[in-house]
Amino acid sequence: MERKININRYKCACCGACIAVCNFNANEIINTFLEIKDKNCTLCFSCIKACPFRAIELEE
Protein backbone atom coordinates (compact mmCIF):
# COMPACT_ATOMS: atom_id res chain seq x y z
CA MET A 1 0.00 0.00 0.00
CA GLU A 2 1.13 3.53 -0.72
CA ARG A 3 2.30 5.73 2.13
CA LYS A 4 0.09 8.70 2.90
CA ILE A 5 -0.75 11.02 5.76
CA ASN A 6 -4.01 10.84 7.67
CA ILE A 7 -5.74 13.16 10.09
CA ASN A 8 -6.73 11.71 13.42
CA ARG A 9 -10.07 13.47 13.92
CA TYR A 10 -10.05 12.73 17.65
CA LYS A 11 -6.89 14.82 17.97
CA CYS A 12 -7.18 17.56 15.31
CA ALA A 13 -8.24 20.99 16.63
CA CYS A 14 -8.43 22.53 13.12
CA CYS A 15 -5.95 25.26 14.08
CA GLY A 16 -4.23 25.65 10.72
CA ALA A 17 -0.63 25.36 11.91
CA CYS A 18 -0.05 22.53 9.40
CA ILE A 19 -1.23 24.70 6.52
CA ALA A 20 1.17 27.52 7.36
CA VAL A 21 4.18 25.21 6.89
CA CYS A 22 2.98 23.36 3.76
CA ASN A 23 4.90 24.32 0.65
CA PHE A 24 2.75 22.25 -1.67
CA ASN A 25 -0.80 23.50 -1.08
CA ALA A 26 -1.63 20.00 0.12
CA ASN A 27 -3.94 20.93 2.98
CA GLU A 28 -6.78 23.31 3.66
CA ILE A 29 -9.37 24.02 6.32
CA ILE A 30 -12.78 23.80 4.69
CA ASN A 31 -15.17 25.69 6.92
CA THR A 32 -13.98 24.12 10.17
CA PHE A 33 -12.45 20.85 9.01
CA LEU A 34 -8.95 20.04 7.84
CA GLU A 35 -8.57 18.29 4.51
CA ILE A 36 -5.43 16.76 3.03
CA LYS A 37 -5.01 16.77 -0.73
CA ASP A 38 -3.06 13.55 -1.27
CA LYS A 39 -2.17 14.35 -4.86
CA ASN A 40 -0.23 17.47 -3.78
CA CYS A 41 1.42 15.92 -0.73
CA THR A 42 5.14 15.13 -1.05
CA LEU A 43 5.38 13.45 2.37
CA CYS A 44 7.82 16.09 3.63
CA PHE A 45 6.27 15.69 7.12
CA SER A 46 6.52 19.40 8.00
CA CYS A 47 2.85 19.35 8.99
CA ILE A 48 3.42 16.41 11.33
CA LYS A 49 6.05 18.39 13.23
CA ALA A 50 3.98 21.60 13.26
CA CYS A 51 0.80 20.05 14.67
CA PRO A 52 0.21 20.99 18.36
CA PHE A 53 -1.67 17.73 18.96
CA ARG A 54 0.35 15.45 16.69
CA ALA A 55 -2.93 14.74 14.93
CA ILE A 56 -1.37 14.05 11.54
CA GLU A 57 -0.19 10.50 11.23
CA LEU A 58 1.67 8.54 8.61
CA GLU A 59 -0.18 5.56 7.19
CA GLU A 60 2.14 2.89 5.81
Binding site: A13, C15, A17, I19, A20, N31
Partner: protein, 394 residues
Amino acid sequence: MTDYDIIIVGAGPAGSTVARSAAENGLNVLLLEKRQEIGVPVRCAEGVGKEKFNEIFKDIDKKWISAEVDGAKVYSPDKKTEIVLSGDKAGNEAGYVLNRKIFDKDLVKLATLAGSDLMVKTTATGLKKNKDQGTIELTMQNSDEIFTAETKILIGADGIESKIGNWAGMNTTLNLNELESCVQYQMTNIDFDERFCHFYLSYETIPGGYLWIFPKGKNVANIGLGVLSSLSKKSPKEYLDNFVNNNFPDGKIIEINAGGVPVGYPLKSAVNDNVMLVGDAARHVDPITGGGILNAMIGGLFATNIAIESINKKDYSVKTLKKYDELWKNDFGKTLHRNKKVQEKLLTTDDKTLNSIFHSMENYNITEANTKKLLYEIIKRNPKLLWDLKGLFI
Protein backbone atom coordinates in the same frame (compact mmCIF):
# COMPACT_ATOMS: atom_id res chain seq x y z
CA MET B 1 -18.19 48.16 -13.31
CA THR B 2 -16.56 46.22 -10.51
CA ASP B 3 -18.71 44.54 -7.89
CA TYR B 4 -16.63 45.80 -4.96
CA ASP B 5 -13.92 48.30 -4.12
CA ILE B 6 -12.52 45.90 -1.52
CA ILE B 7 -13.08 42.26 -0.73
CA ILE B 8 -11.59 41.04 2.53
CA VAL B 9 -10.98 37.35 3.14
CA GLY B 10 -11.15 36.51 6.84
CA ALA B 11 -13.21 38.16 9.58
CA GLY B 12 -10.73 38.24 12.47
CA PRO B 13 -9.59 41.53 14.03
CA ALA B 14 -7.48 42.46 10.97
CA GLY B 15 -10.21 41.79 8.40
CA SER B 16 -13.06 43.39 10.30
CA THR B 17 -10.93 46.47 11.03
CA VAL B 18 -10.36 46.95 7.31
CA ALA B 19 -14.04 46.29 6.55
CA ARG B 20 -15.24 48.77 9.11
CA SER B 21 -12.85 51.61 8.27
CA ALA B 22 -13.24 51.13 4.50
CA ALA B 23 -17.04 51.16 4.80
CA GLU B 24 -16.91 54.22 7.04
CA ASN B 25 -14.96 55.92 4.26
CA GLY B 26 -17.73 55.20 1.77
CA LEU B 27 -16.16 52.26 -0.03
CA ASN B 28 -18.12 49.31 -1.33
CA VAL B 29 -16.90 46.45 0.87
CA LEU B 30 -17.42 42.69 1.18
CA LEU B 31 -16.12 40.74 4.19
CA LEU B 32 -15.86 36.96 3.87
CA GLU B 33 -15.63 34.39 6.66
CA LYS B 34 -15.27 30.72 5.82
CA ARG B 35 -16.49 29.55 9.22
CA GLN B 36 -20.13 29.44 10.12
CA GLU B 37 -19.50 31.45 13.25
CA ILE B 38 -17.24 34.46 13.83
CA GLY B 39 -14.63 34.20 16.59
CA VAL B 40 -14.56 30.45 17.13
CA PRO B 41 -12.62 28.34 17.64
CA VAL B 42 -10.38 30.71 19.59
CA ARG B 43 -6.69 30.30 18.70
CA CYS B 44 -5.29 32.90 21.00
CA ALA B 45 -4.14 33.67 24.56
CA GLU B 46 -6.17 36.91 24.25
CA GLY B 47 -3.72 39.36 25.84
CA VAL B 48 -3.30 42.93 24.53
CA GLY B 49 -1.42 46.00 25.80
CA LYS B 50 -3.79 48.44 27.43
CA GLU B 51 -2.29 51.67 26.16
CA LYS B 52 -2.36 50.82 22.45
CA PHE B 53 -5.76 49.17 22.72
CA ASN B 54 -7.17 52.33 24.30
CA GLU B 55 -5.67 54.37 21.47
CA ILE B 56 -7.42 52.26 18.84
CA PHE B 57 -10.85 52.21 20.48
CA LYS B 58 -12.53 55.30 21.87
CA ASP B 59 -15.49 53.29 23.15
CA ILE B 60 -14.35 50.02 24.62
CA ASP B 61 -17.22 47.68 25.40
CA LYS B 62 -16.73 46.04 28.80
CA LYS B 63 -17.94 42.75 27.37
CA TRP B 64 -14.79 42.54 25.22
CA ILE B 65 -12.60 42.26 28.31
CA SER B 66 -12.38 39.18 30.52
CA ALA B 67 -9.76 40.58 32.90
CA GLU B 68 -7.45 43.52 33.43
CA VAL B 69 -3.86 43.07 34.58
CA ASP B 70 -1.34 45.45 36.16
CA GLY B 71 1.62 43.91 34.40
CA ALA B 72 3.64 40.80 33.70
CA LYS B 73 5.83 38.45 35.71
CA VAL B 74 8.55 36.55 33.89
CA TYR B 75 10.13 33.52 35.60
CA SER B 76 13.60 32.06 35.19
CA PRO B 77 13.90 28.36 34.21
CA ASP B 78 14.83 27.42 37.82
CA LYS B 79 11.89 29.60 39.01
CA LYS B 80 14.22 31.17 41.58
CA THR B 81 14.09 34.63 40.02
CA GLU B 82 11.21 36.61 38.61
CA ILE B 83 11.21 39.86 36.69
CA VAL B 84 8.15 41.99 37.30
CA LEU B 85 7.01 44.46 34.69
CA SER B 86 4.38 46.72 36.07
CA GLY B 87 4.60 50.38 37.00
CA ASP B 88 1.42 52.36 37.27
CA LYS B 89 -1.88 51.10 35.92
CA ALA B 90 -1.77 53.27 32.83
CA GLY B 91 1.73 52.05 32.04
CA ASN B 92 3.01 50.30 29.00
CA GLU B 93 2.86 46.82 30.44
CA ALA B 94 -0.66 46.93 31.87
CA GLY B 95 -3.03 44.93 29.76
CA TYR B 96 -6.37 43.43 28.99
CA VAL B 97 -7.17 39.78 28.52
CA LEU B 98 -9.90 39.85 25.92
CA ASN B 99 -12.91 37.65 25.32
CA ARG B 100 -12.19 36.98 21.65
CA LYS B 101 -15.50 35.25 21.02
CA ILE B 102 -17.39 38.43 21.87
CA PHE B 103 -14.74 40.87 20.64
CA ASP B 104 -14.34 39.35 17.17
CA LYS B 105 -18.07 39.15 16.63
CA ASP B 106 -18.62 42.71 17.79
CA LEU B 107 -15.94 44.03 15.41
CA VAL B 108 -17.77 42.32 12.57
CA LYS B 109 -21.08 43.81 13.74
CA LEU B 110 -19.48 47.26 13.73
CA ALA B 111 -18.22 46.65 10.18
CA THR B 112 -21.69 45.69 8.97
CA LEU B 113 -23.26 48.67 10.76
CA ALA B 114 -20.79 50.88 8.89
CA GLY B 115 -22.14 49.41 5.65
CA SER B 116 -19.88 46.45 4.84
CA ASP B 117 -21.44 43.38 3.22
CA LEU B 118 -20.74 40.10 5.01
CA MET B 119 -20.90 36.45 4.02
CA VAL B 120 -20.25 33.72 6.58
CA LYS B 121 -19.67 30.04 5.81
CA THR B 122 -18.28 31.32 2.51
CA THR B 123 -14.82 30.23 1.39
CA ALA B 124 -12.59 31.97 -1.13
CA THR B 125 -11.52 29.22 -3.52
CA GLY B 126 -9.39 31.00 -6.10
CA LEU B 127 -8.46 34.25 -7.77
CA LYS B 128 -7.85 35.40 -11.31
CA LYS B 129 -6.44 38.64 -12.62
CA ASN B 130 -8.69 40.57 -14.95
CA LYS B 131 -5.98 42.14 -17.09
CA ASP B 132 -8.23 44.47 -19.11
CA GLN B 133 -9.74 46.09 -16.03
CA GLY B 134 -6.69 45.78 -13.79
CA THR B 135 -8.94 44.11 -11.22
CA ILE B 136 -9.24 40.73 -9.52
CA GLU B 137 -11.94 38.15 -9.88
CA LEU B 138 -12.41 36.14 -6.71
CA THR B 139 -14.17 32.78 -6.73
CA MET B 140 -16.13 31.84 -3.63
CA GLN B 141 -18.19 28.94 -2.45
CA ASN B 142 -21.10 28.79 -0.02
CA SER B 143 -22.79 25.41 0.23
CA ASP B 144 -23.30 24.22 -3.37
CA GLU B 145 -23.22 27.72 -4.75
CA ILE B 146 -20.02 28.74 -6.55
CA PHE B 147 -19.85 32.36 -7.62
CA THR B 148 -17.41 35.14 -8.48
CA ALA B 149 -17.05 38.83 -7.70
CA GLU B 150 -14.78 41.43 -9.20
CA THR B 151 -12.84 43.70 -6.88
CA LYS B 152 -10.28 46.49 -7.16
CA ILE B 153 -8.48 45.53 -3.95
CA LEU B 154 -8.28 42.15 -2.27
CA ILE B 155 -7.24 41.97 1.38
CA GLY B 156 -5.81 38.69 2.65
CA ALA B 157 -6.79 38.61 6.33
CA ASP B 158 -6.97 34.84 6.29
CA GLY B 159 -4.71 34.15 9.22
CA ILE B 160 -1.97 31.62 9.85
CA GLU B 161 -3.33 29.32 7.14
CA SER B 162 -3.45 32.16 4.57
CA LYS B 163 -3.97 31.17 0.97
CA ILE B 164 -4.37 34.64 -0.51
CA GLY B 165 -0.65 35.49 -0.30
CA ASN B 166 0.42 32.34 -2.07
CA TRP B 167 -2.32 32.71 -4.71
CA ALA B 168 -1.14 36.27 -5.36
CA GLY B 169 2.45 35.14 -5.91
CA MET B 170 3.90 35.97 -2.49
CA ASN B 171 5.62 33.18 -0.62
CA THR B 172 4.22 33.23 2.90
CA THR B 173 4.91 29.59 3.78
CA LEU B 174 6.71 29.26 7.12
CA ASN B 175 9.69 27.07 7.88
CA LEU B 176 9.49 24.89 10.98
CA ASN B 177 11.86 27.29 12.77
CA GLU B 178 9.38 30.10 12.10
CA LEU B 179 6.34 28.49 13.71
CA GLU B 180 5.35 28.29 17.35
CA SER B 181 3.08 25.33 17.84
CA CYS B 182 0.68 26.19 20.66
CA VAL B 183 -1.78 24.45 22.95
CA GLN B 184 -3.89 26.20 25.56
CA TYR B 185 -6.34 25.14 28.23
CA GLN B 186 -8.85 27.48 29.74
CA MET B 187 -8.94 26.26 33.33
CA THR B 188 -11.07 26.88 36.36
CA ASN B 189 -10.46 26.02 39.99
CA ILE B 190 -6.90 27.29 39.94
CA ASP B 191 -5.10 29.52 42.41
CA PHE B 192 -2.67 32.13 41.07
CA ASP B 193 -1.90 35.87 41.24
CA GLU B 194 -4.67 37.32 39.07
CA ARG B 195 -3.15 40.80 38.94
CA PHE B 196 -0.51 39.66 36.46
CA CYS B 197 0.06 37.77 33.25
CA HIS B 198 2.70 35.13 33.96
CA PHE B 199 5.43 33.96 31.58
CA TYR B 200 7.72 30.96 32.13
CA LEU B 201 10.89 30.43 30.13
CA SER B 202 12.91 27.23 29.81
CA TYR B 203 14.89 25.78 26.96
CA GLU B 204 14.53 22.31 28.50
CA THR B 205 10.81 22.16 29.13
CA ILE B 206 9.48 24.80 26.70
CA PRO B 207 11.98 24.75 23.82
CA GLY B 208 12.01 27.90 21.72
CA GLY B 209 8.90 29.40 23.26
CA TYR B 210 7.29 30.14 26.59
CA LEU B 211 4.43 29.11 28.80
CA TRP B 212 1.77 31.62 29.80
CA ILE B 213 -0.92 32.05 32.41
CA PHE B 214 -3.34 34.85 31.51
CA PRO B 215 -6.18 35.57 33.95
CA LYS B 216 -9.70 35.30 32.57
CA GLY B 217 -11.54 36.11 35.79
CA LYS B 218 -11.73 34.81 39.36
CA ASN B 219 -9.84 31.47 39.50
CA VAL B 220 -9.99 31.16 35.71
CA ALA B 221 -7.08 31.48 33.28
CA ASN B 222 -5.80 30.69 29.84
CA ILE B 223 -2.82 28.40 30.48
CA GLY B 224 -0.90 27.53 27.38
CA LEU B 225 2.46 27.22 25.72
CA GLY B 226 4.13 27.53 22.41
CA VAL B 227 7.19 25.58 21.34
CA LEU B 228 9.24 26.10 18.20
CA SER B 229 8.35 23.27 15.83
CA SER B 230 11.97 22.77 14.77
CA LEU B 231 13.17 22.34 18.37
CA SER B 232 10.40 20.48 20.18
CA LYS B 233 11.05 16.84 20.90
CA LYS B 234 7.62 16.10 22.32
CA SER B 235 4.21 17.38 21.31
CA PRO B 236 3.25 20.78 22.77
CA LYS B 237 0.37 19.06 24.52
CA GLU B 238 2.76 16.77 26.45
CA TYR B 239 4.83 19.76 27.62
CA LEU B 240 1.67 21.56 28.75
CA ASP B 241 0.13 18.54 30.48
CA ASN B 242 3.33 18.12 32.42
CA PHE B 243 3.21 21.71 33.70
CA VAL B 244 -0.50 21.61 34.50
CA ASN B 245 -0.30 18.29 36.36
CA ASN B 246 2.58 19.59 38.48
CA ASN B 247 1.19 23.05 39.22
CA PHE B 248 -2.60 22.86 39.03
CA PRO B 249 -3.56 19.27 39.85
CA ASP B 250 -7.07 20.37 40.93
CA GLY B 251 -7.71 22.57 37.91
CA LYS B 252 -10.52 21.71 35.51
CA ILE B 253 -10.19 22.26 31.78
CA ILE B 254 -13.24 24.04 30.36
CA GLU B 255 -11.88 24.73 26.88
CA ILE B 256 -9.04 23.48 24.70
CA ASN B 257 -7.44 25.71 22.07
CA ALA B 258 -4.65 25.17 19.60
CA GLY B 259 -2.88 27.34 17.10
CA GLY B 260 0.20 28.20 15.13
CA VAL B 261 1.97 31.52 15.63
CA PRO B 262 4.33 32.90 12.95
CA VAL B 263 7.68 33.96 14.46
CA GLY B 264 9.94 34.50 11.47
CA TYR B 265 11.38 37.78 10.19
CA PRO B 266 8.68 40.11 8.86
CA LEU B 267 7.87 39.66 5.16
CA LYS B 268 9.95 41.83 2.81
CA SER B 269 6.67 42.90 1.29
CA ALA B 270 3.04 42.24 2.17
CA VAL B 271 1.65 43.48 -1.17
CA ASN B 272 1.35 42.55 -4.80
CA ASP B 273 -0.81 43.97 -7.59
CA ASN B 274 -4.35 44.47 -6.16
CA VAL B 275 -3.49 42.53 -3.00
CA MET B 276 -2.50 43.45 0.55
CA LEU B 277 -2.00 41.05 3.46
CA VAL B 278 -2.86 41.99 7.04
CA GLY B 279 -2.60 40.37 10.47
CA ASP B 280 -1.30 36.80 10.84
CA ALA B 281 -1.56 36.37 7.05
CA ALA B 282 1.09 39.09 6.77
CA ARG B 283 3.00 37.40 9.65
CA HIS B 284 2.63 40.64 11.65
CA VAL B 285 3.28 38.90 14.94
CA ASP B 286 5.90 39.76 17.57
CA PRO B 287 8.47 36.90 17.53
CA ILE B 288 9.08 37.17 21.28
CA THR B 289 5.62 37.72 22.72
CA GLY B 290 3.60 36.10 19.93
CA GLY B 291 1.24 39.07 20.19
CA GLY B 292 -0.56 39.97 16.99
CA ILE B 293 -3.98 41.49 17.71
CA LEU B 294 -2.86 45.11 17.93
CA ASN B 295 -0.59 44.86 14.88
CA ALA B 296 -3.47 43.27 12.99
CA MET B 297 -5.72 46.25 13.69
CA ILE B 298 -3.05 48.94 13.22
CA GLY B 299 -1.93 47.26 9.99
CA GLY B 300 -5.56 47.00 8.92
CA LEU B 301 -5.99 50.76 9.27
CA PHE B 302 -2.80 51.35 7.24
CA ALA B 303 -4.04 49.00 4.52
CA THR B 304 -7.38 50.81 4.39
CA ASN B 305 -5.67 54.19 3.94
CA ILE B 306 -3.60 52.91 1.05
CA ALA B 307 -6.60 51.14 -0.49
CA ILE B 308 -8.54 54.43 -0.46
CA GLU B 309 -5.58 56.22 -2.04
CA SER B 310 -5.20 53.62 -4.79
CA ILE B 311 -8.94 53.59 -5.52
CA ASN B 312 -8.98 57.39 -5.82
CA LYS B 313 -6.02 57.17 -8.22
CA LYS B 314 -7.59 54.20 -10.03
CA ASP B 315 -4.18 52.56 -9.72
CA TYR B 316 -4.14 49.21 -7.89
CA SER B 317 -0.64 48.24 -8.90
CA VAL B 318 2.03 46.98 -6.53
CA LYS B 319 3.79 50.32 -6.98
CA THR B 320 0.96 52.24 -5.31
CA LEU B 321 0.21 49.58 -2.71
CA LYS B 322 3.89 49.47 -1.66
CA LYS B 323 3.14 52.48 0.52
CA TYR B 324 1.38 50.06 2.84
CA ASP B 325 4.74 48.29 3.34
CA GLU B 326 6.36 51.60 4.26
CA LEU B 327 3.64 52.35 6.82
CA TRP B 328 3.78 49.06 8.72
CA LYS B 329 7.56 48.80 8.47
CA ASN B 330 8.03 52.26 9.97
CA ASP B 331 5.53 51.49 12.70
CA PHE B 332 5.49 48.03 14.32
CA GLY B 333 7.76 46.53 11.65
CA LYS B 334 10.81 47.92 13.43
CA THR B 335 9.87 46.17 16.67
CA LEU B 336 9.18 42.91 14.83
CA HIS B 337 12.64 43.03 13.28
CA ARG B 338 14.42 43.92 16.53
CA ASN B 339 12.58 41.32 18.56
CA LYS B 340 13.32 38.66 15.95
CA LYS B 341 17.04 39.33 16.47
CA VAL B 342 16.61 39.00 20.23
CA GLN B 343 14.50 35.85 19.82
CA GLU B 344 17.23 34.26 17.68
CA LYS B 345 19.68 34.89 20.51
CA LEU B 346 17.27 33.45 23.07
CA LEU B 347 16.99 30.30 20.95
CA THR B 348 20.68 29.59 21.53
CA THR B 349 20.59 30.33 25.27
CA ASP B 350 20.52 27.32 27.57
CA ASP B 351 18.75 27.24 30.94
CA LYS B 352 21.93 27.73 32.97
CA THR B 353 22.70 30.93 31.07
CA LEU B 354 19.08 32.08 31.28
CA ASN B 355 19.12 31.56 35.04
CA SER B 356 22.23 33.70 35.37
CA ILE B 357 20.72 36.43 33.18
CA PHE B 358 17.62 36.49 35.40
CA HIS B 359 19.80 36.49 38.48
CA SER B 360 21.63 39.55 37.17
CA MET B 361 18.33 41.44 37.15
CA GLU B 362 17.41 40.78 40.76
CA ASN B 363 17.84 44.32 42.08
CA TYR B 364 16.62 46.09 38.96
CA ASN B 365 14.21 48.92 39.72
CA ILE B 366 11.30 48.22 37.45
CA THR B 367 8.75 50.90 38.19
CA GLU B 368 9.01 52.40 34.74
CA ALA B 369 9.92 49.26 32.89
CA ASN B 370 8.77 48.42 29.42
CA THR B 371 9.97 45.56 27.27
CA LYS B 372 12.46 47.64 25.33
CA LYS B 373 14.01 49.19 28.43
CA LEU B 374 14.13 45.82 30.12
CA LEU B 375 15.92 44.17 27.20
CA TYR B 376 18.40 47.02 27.12
CA GLU B 377 19.07 46.63 30.84
CA ILE B 378 19.51 42.85 30.46
CA ILE B 379 22.09 43.41 27.73
CA LYS B 380 23.90 46.02 29.81
CA ARG B 381 24.16 43.62 32.73
CA ASN B 382 25.25 40.68 30.58
CA PRO B 383 27.64 42.29 28.13
CA LYS B 384 29.71 39.22 27.35
CA LEU B 385 26.70 37.14 26.50
CA LEU B 386 24.61 39.64 24.67
CA TRP B 387 26.90 42.38 23.40
CA ASP B 388 26.11 41.66 19.75
CA LEU B 389 22.51 42.73 20.42
CA LYS B 390 23.48 46.11 21.83
CA GLY B 391 23.14 47.92 18.52
CA LEU B 392 19.46 47.05 18.38
CA PHE B 393 18.61 49.22 21.35
CA ILE B 394 20.40 52.48 20.61
